[in-house]
């Protein structure tokens, strides 16, 4: 017969690809992991289900609500057989739940709503293979709701698995987050700032004839400030890293007390300068202790083993940035005020006494 061949030839050969009136096959998998047990809502197109599971009981070409409902158990069994969820490498268990219907742009979907019980903490892993054997163009559109936001993933035959970290986010957001935390924690780290400024107060002065006098050399002062800040920064970066990476560990009670004590030391040194030329060395030695203090904060922000370096690095950067910001504001002010009696008496002497008292108080409080 020529006609069908002609039809096929023309049809296949000369038809231009048209836009679709329908769309490709997708299922929508929403997992709410903000509470336990997890709530799952999985929407699967009814015509897609029929590909794997005959739903049209009376073979009239239509699937009715009654026909779908009567197959509820089979639909759930089929769905569960094609989805695995794990948390922390332990499988979560599913229990069949409700069956509803939803109208989407390309027709009616069966909506499976059911709980998932996970037994351990950690990252989530999803393995999905619904319909792939029938339709390699099918995609599972996953949306996972976590306490700190939601994550999305597209599951396909070439990427049927997704690992979704609890802390979530990609490198850029992680970096930004930890940087911000670093800045914030130095700004609220009064003990750190107090120590640093106590040490920096005399930087715009020189000790001559048993008293503090205004420094005439801006260059000298700047070098001094730079040396102290740098030494402090390097020191606390070292110990912060060592502690965060797990190489060194000190009991936090002692660390906190020692930090308070360092303020006292710095303050006393202002009042009776035993260390003048190598103030940066003092900053370094005492800075080592301060680093341990930050490590605790960093741990509280939620680090994952094996994913430490980026958060550590950017947190540190944040701390430095925060520090520099404050120094950049206050030191010019100090330089400007250095000749005044107000600065040399009230701020330096008075301030150092106050700092020593506060430091001592904290020290005792933290040891108690």
């Amino acid at each position: 017969m020529i006609k069908p061949i002609l039809t096929l030839l023309i049809f296949s050969g000369m038809m231009l690809p048209t836009a679709s009136a329908h769309k490709n096959s997708d299922s929508y998998l929403r997992i709410d992991a903000t509470a336990a047990p997890l709530s799952v809502q999985w929407s699967i197109a009814i015509r897609d289900i029929d590909i794997a599971l005959p739903l049209d009981g009376d073979a009239d070409g239509n699937v009715t609500w009654g026909e779908l409902q009567s197959q509820q158990a089979a639909v759930y069994a089929w769905a569960f057989a094609n989805l695995q969820l794990q948390q922390g490498n332990n499988p979560c268990s599913f229990t069949p739940g409700e069956l509803l219907v939803d109208t989407l742009s390309d027709g009616e979907y069966a909506v499976l709503r059911f709980p998932a019980n996970c037994t351990s903490d950690g990252d989530y892993q999803i393995d999905y293979h619904l319909l792939f054997e029938y339709d390699p163009n099918h995609r599972g559109l996953l949306n996972l709701q976590l306490p700190n936001g939601s994550q999305q993933s597209v599951l396909s035959p070439t990427e049927p698995s997704a690992t979704l970290a609890l802390s979530g986010g990609n490198k850029a957001t992680t970096a930004a987050r930890f940087f911000r935390e670093g800045v914030w924690h130095i700004w609220i780290g009064f003990d750190h700032l107090l120590f640093l400024f106590t040490l920096l107060l005399p930087a715009v002065l020189v000790y001559r004839q048993q008293q503090w006098q205004a420094s005439e050399s801006l260059g000298h002062s700047i070098k001094s400030i730079a040396a102290i800040v740098t030494a402090f920064t390097v020191a606390h970066s070292l110990t912060l890293s060592a502690a965060a990476l797990g190489w060194l560990s000190l009991p936090s009670r002692w660390v906190e007390a020692a930090i308070a004590a360092s303020i006292v030391v710095a303050a006393l040194n202002n009042l009776k300068p035993l260390i003048l030329k190598r103030l940066w060395l003092l900053a370094f030695v005492l800075g080592l202790i301060h680093g341990f203090g930050f490590a605790g904060v960093l741990a509280d922000l939620g680090l994952e083993a094996g994913n430490l370096l980026l958060p550590l690095f950017t947190f540190n950067l944040g701390v430095e940035a925060g520090q520099l910001a404050v120094v950049a504001v206050l030191m010019p002010l100090a330089w400007w005020l250095r000749r005044t009696v107000f600065y040399r008496r009230a701020i330096l002497i008075g301030g150092s006494i106050l700092a020593a008292l506060i430091g001592a108080y904290w020290c005792l409080e933290r040891l108690a």
Partner: protein, 380 residues
């Protein structure tokens, strides 16, 4: 009108997952939810090459008749099952795969498969015809003509002639091609027994030609005939809707494309019509943005031309439109692709692209009244 990306990604899921209202429990057991093929052939355990071919052909035909891309996925599924059970790809199956690829706009991959078929069967008229079609679509008119000749050489002279006339209509012979193709369509000895699909195809092809020749009334007649013959095919509806919109007849355009299960293409035209009617179109526009976003996430690239149009005419973002139109131009070069790129380039003041397009038109002696109007009299 800027759409916040954050809002989009947040709403993408909310809307994708639960469009309209919340999921419901129907009250009537007899409520019809979906129509499915009667007595669907359940996947047999093993497939012969002939079985596979038959199933795939059916799916491809369904795709073309209903414009339902799910059938392409199912066709691929059959192929996958066949290969996994150890089957080797015969030239016939390769040809089917080429058709699937072509339908998914993977034109170069399709050409590769077609070349393999031709290598195994140099006299395969279908393979040559498909090759000619893709080459024409990609703007390789000389190669297309050669392939058309091969169709004739393979014994299908009338198809070869149609192929040749269609290609030549793009290279300076539009009016003559129209005449001869009309005669061919009319003189076809099997005309009376020719089925609706073929008849419909002829009409839509002649309609396209008439549009390029600047004969909108003639084009409209052909499109309407095509729609009448095959109402499920969206091609003619879409093209006619565009024609009517260009003629400032938005109400008529809208009636062609409105419907409950609107495809992305139709939704776009509905929005454009509403805009022309000075009615609100933000619902449609938001919906479209979500759908394009969803398509992008799942790796679907067949919307690029429409997306360019969307950005140009609905979002007033000529830069975004230009990027998309250029991307589209890399995969296909039909007159509508040329036009959307030209419109975007003009709106974005991209003189270099305008010049390139102008050169391309001259080089190929393209005749298209819309192109000429857009480029201005100086370029004819």
């Amino acid at each position: 009108m800027p759409f916040s990306k954050l809002t989009l990604s947040l709403s993408a899921f909310l809307l994708c997952g639960t469009l309209n209202a919340e999921p419901r429990i129907p009250t009537d057991a007899g409520e019809i939810l979906a129509s499915v093929p009667k007595n669907r052939a359940r996947q047999p355990a093993t497939l012969t090459a002939a079985d596979a071919r038959k199933l795939i052909t059916q799916h491809i035909r369904q795709f073309r008749l209903q414009d339902d891309p799910r059938h392409l996925g199912l066709a691929k599924g059959v192929l996958q099952r066949y290969e996994r059970s150890g089957g080797t790809l015969t030239p016939e199956l390769l040809l089917e795969r080429a058709s699937i690829l072509e339908s998914e706009h993977a034109f170069n991959e399709s050409l590769t498969d077609l070349a393999a078929v031709i290598k195994a069967q140099p006299g395969n008229a279908q393979a040559w015809l498909n090759t000619a079609t893709i080459q024409r679509l990609q703007g390789n008119y000389d190669q297309s003509l050669e392939s058309c000749q091969k169709v004739s050489d393979a014994g299908q002279s009338s198809l070869g002639l149609s192929c040749k006339l269609l290609t030549e209509s793009f290279t300076g012979n539009a009016a003559a091609s129209y005449r001869e193709l009309s005669e061919l369509a009319a003189a076809e000895p099997l005309r009376r027994s020719r089925d609706r699909n073929t008849e419909s195809w002829y009409h839509s092809m002649l309609a396209d030609l008439a549009v390029r020749l600047g004969q909108p009334n003639l084009a409209e007649q052909h499109y309407r005939k095509s729609i009448q013959l095959t109402p499920g095919r969206s091609y003619a509806r879409r093209e006619l809707a565009d024609l009517l919109l260009a003629q400032q007849r938005p109400e008529e355009a809208k009636s062609l494309v409105s419907g409950k299960l609107a495809s992305d293409s139709f939704l776009l035209r509905t929005a454009l019509a509403n805009k022309q009617l000075k009615k609100p179109y933000s619902n449609e526009a938001n919906e479209l943005a979500l759908r394009y976003e969803a398509a992008k996430r799942r790796g679907n690239n067949t919307h690029t031309r429409d997306q360019a149009l969307f950005n140009l005419k609905l979002r007033n973002d000529p830069q975004a439109a230009l990027v998309l139109a250029k991307q589209n131009w890399q995969t296909q070069r039909e007159p509508v692709d040329f036009i959307i790129l030209l419109e975007a380039a003009k709106a974005a003041n991209d003189k270099e692209t305008i010049e390139q397009l102008s050169q391309w038109k001259k080089l190929n002696q393209l005749e298209d009244q819309r192109m000429s109007a857009l480029l201005g009299a100086a370029n004819d």
